[in-house]
């Protein structure tokens, strides 16, 4: 049985628009996303800034209540679960956030932050909790004397490790990692990635792994999903996706990976066209629309649900972007 199944997930935010801020519009941040995740598996999730990755992440751990769709975790439909029911699931699924400043309470010491999950779940004595907090710090490679200090006393990367330590506290089965290593330098990044891989091997942890660094995603993931403007446009095993991308946006992403190659200061091919808005998204294939592809018009009337082009490799079947 899949650990997590997400079906046709939609998350629309209400927004104010217009000069008089009266007209209400909706921001279709996530507009029909589906995937599944097996125990011990890593699904990488990549895509343009603002395409809805964090919204998917927060919906999966139910920090958000989706507009529609279904989220099934360990066989339980949690799409509409209330706070009491969710508390039980929180032991099993955790989230590491993109911006640690957003998620660490500035008025709590690191010790308090790391003990909090145990306090909420009412486990352990005070002594045990502080021992566990120290152990968590050690696991993410921070000195134990950090326990008495406050988040602002740490660098961005150190704060991110604290966020990871907290997510590990309750030994979850799924960790949703929203850019867990974006704030880390390469040497610490390598340590954290190795740590995540080790934990996965030991405990059969599953990860939904969001990152912008495509070489990191490739390194960590079994499968990778590419999102564009609220939708998944391509999903395949990591090896297949990197070797044989089928969607034009996936190709653009892969071509933009910065390279340490001093023989050529690269004249980069920049993506053109206006970055699309999830408020009033275009009909049909959004990337084709952006690229003003001559065949975009054809995609408007089409069923753009993903199609399997080779075993396990799914892609949006639009005439403009898919080869």
């Amino acid at each position: 049985m899949a650990l997590l199944t997400v079906e046709d997930l939609k998350m629309y935010y209400p927004v104010r628009g217009g000069v008089f801020r009266r007209t209400r519009a909706v921001c279709k941040a996530v507009d029909g996303v589906g995937f599944s995740l097996e125990p011990g598996e890593t699904l990488g999730l990549v895509g343009e800034s603002g395409c809805g990755k964090s919204t998917v992440a927060k919906s999966v751990v139910r920090l958000l209540k989706p507009t529609s769709g279904r989220i099934v975790f360990e066989g339980n439909d949690i799409t509409r679960s209330g706070p009491a029911e969710l508390r039980g699931f929180r032991r099993e699924m955790q989230m590491v956030f993109q911006d640690p400043a957003e998620s660490l309470n500035p008025r709590h010491t690191i010790g308090q932050i790391l003990e909090e999950p145990f306090v909420i779940q009412k486990i352990g004595t005070r002594g045990e909790r502080s021992e566990w907090a120290a152990e968590l710090l050690r696991r993410v490679g921070l000195p134990v004397d950090a326990l008495g200090r406050y988040p602002f006393e740490f660098s961005g990367g150190q704060r991110q490790r604290i966020g990871i330590a907290r997510a590990l506290a309750l030994k979850p089965r799924l960790i949703v990692c929203d850019e867990p290593v974006s704030a880390l330098d390469v040497s610490v990044q390598a340590q954290v990635l190795n740590l995540l891989l080790e934990l996965q091997q030991q405990d059969r942890l599953a990860y939904l792994f969001i990152a912008h660094d495509l070489s990191v995603v490739q390194h960590m993931s079994d499968r990778v999903a590419v999102m564009y403007l609220g939708k998944i446009v391509e999903i395949a095993t990591a090896t297949e996706l990197y070797r044989n991308p089928r969607h034009a946006y996936t190709k653009a992403l892969l071509e933009s990976i910065p390279q340490v190659d001093l023989s050529r200061k690269r004249e980069r091919k920049l993506l053109k066209g206006d970055v699309p808005s999830p408020i009033n998204p275009p009909a049909g294939c959004a990337f084709g629309h952006r690229m003003r592809h001559p065949k975009w018009q054809e995609s408007v009337a089409m069923d753009l649900r993903l199609q399997e082009v080779s075993p396990g490799h799914w892609v949006q079947p639009c005439p403009c972007c898919t080869t």
Binding site: Y13, V15, R16, G17, G18, V19, R21, E48, S49, G50, S54, D99, P100, A101, L142, D145, G148, R149, E153, F154, S155, G156, G157, Q158, E179, S182, A183, L184, D185, V186, S187, V188, Q189, A190, Q191, L193, N194, H212, D213, L214, S215, Q218, H219, M220, T239, L253, S256, I257, P258, Q259, V260, L262, R268, L270, L271, V275, P276, S277, I279, N280
Partner: protein
């Protein structure tokens, strides 16, 4: 006129904490020439952001203090300037993009208002003109539907869009120097390429110089002219980008280059790491701070003695620890 645009000498910055004074930046020298881009890299916590904040005189108050050194902008030391004069330098002459946009944007104000207030502070504009300019700026940095987005609160924007708002604010007054603290960390690679291109373009148009703090060595290789590498509060290596990438001298710099995940590395296997941890700020050795993790370290004498700086050819310099100095 031959003086560099920005010259930092012997900068020392500390924090007063419950455990006494912690020195986070220790004797750092940096030089930034007009129109150039200087990359600043180093292990998380090594003092990159603190250095940047010290230049801007925006250290955490009251704990953060500049303990010594100079920060000369076109020859004028900024450190002793009265606050009022410093406020004019900020934004207009040196602008900064902060690492965590959530800490720099005010969560209770709409982003449009924040851009407008910043414009009104530095430029002679009517509020209506400033609003119009704010929308243009947001469009310019690639925020879709800017006339709607200016009414959003920061938490309603995606991470990448917040960062672009920060960039719009920083560039709004055409500064001479832009200090960008991990400006593209939160962005996907296609937008990253666009933003770096935007910064480069502005640089070409206005001669702006840039200090780019990043941990992405590939970005450094693609965009920077010079590179400075910090470790545990100290500058350990500095020089032209080509020179450092082709022949890194300091063992830490070498280690960094090895840690890069490469697209041809077998997936889901352990990456090379630099074993161990940075020494705690409370317990810094006087000498080489990398010794405990250094593959060449042969004896402990390098810990107690401050290791000398060595200038090699072509503007490439390094903290020449005894463990490798003989090979230079």
């Amino acid at each position: 006129m031959n003086e560099p645009l920005l010259e930092i000498r012997d900068l020392r910055v500390g924090f007063q904490t419950d455990h006494g004074l912690l020195v986070a930046v220790d004797d750092v020298d940096l030089t930034l020439e007009r129109g150039k881009m200087l990359g600043l890299v180093g292990e998380s916590g090594c003092g990159k952001s603190v250095t940047a904040r010290a230049i801007m005189r925006l250290l955490e108050q009251p704990s953060g203090q500049v303990l010594g050194g100079e920060v000369r902008l076109e020859g004028r030391d900024l450190l002793p300037l009265p606050l009022e004069a410093m406020r004019k330098v900020r934004g207009k002459e040196i602008a900064m993009i902060f690492q965590e946009p959530m800490t720099a944007l005010n969560p209770v104000h709409r982003v449009g208002r924040q851009i407008v207030e910043n414009l009104l502070l530095h430029e002679d504009l009517t509020p209506a003109a400033a609003l119009k300019r704010a929308v243009e700026l947001m469009e310019w940095v690639g925020i879709p539907a800017p006339d709607q987005r200016i009414h959003d609160y920061p938490h309603q924007l995606s991470g990448g869009m917040r960062q672009r708002v920060m960039i719009a604010m920083a560039l709004s007054c055409n500064p001479k120097i832009l200090i960008a603290d991990e400006p593209t960390t939160a962005l996907d690679v296609t937008v990253q390429a666009q933003i770096l291109d935007l910064i480069k373009r502005l640089q070409n148009e206005t001669g702006m110089a840039v200090i780019l703090i990043t941990h992405d060595l590939a970005v450094v290789a693609e965009t920077c002219d010079e590179l400075a590498v910090m470790y545990a509060g100290r500058l350990v290596e500095r020089g032209p980008v080509e020179s450092i990438f082709q022949s890194p001298l300091h063992p830490y710099t070498k280690g960094l280059m090895d840690c890069l995940p490469k697209l041809d590395h077998p997936p889901k296997t352990m990456l090379p790491i630099i074993p161990g941890m940075v020494p705690s700020l409370r317990d810094m050795p006087r000498g080489c701070r990398f010794a405990a993790r250094c593959p060449n370290a042969h004896d402990d004498s390098v810990l107690s003695e401050r290791q000398p700086w060595r200038e090699c050819s072509g503007g490439h310099g390094v903290e020449a620890c005894a463990c490798f100095a003989s090979t230079l």
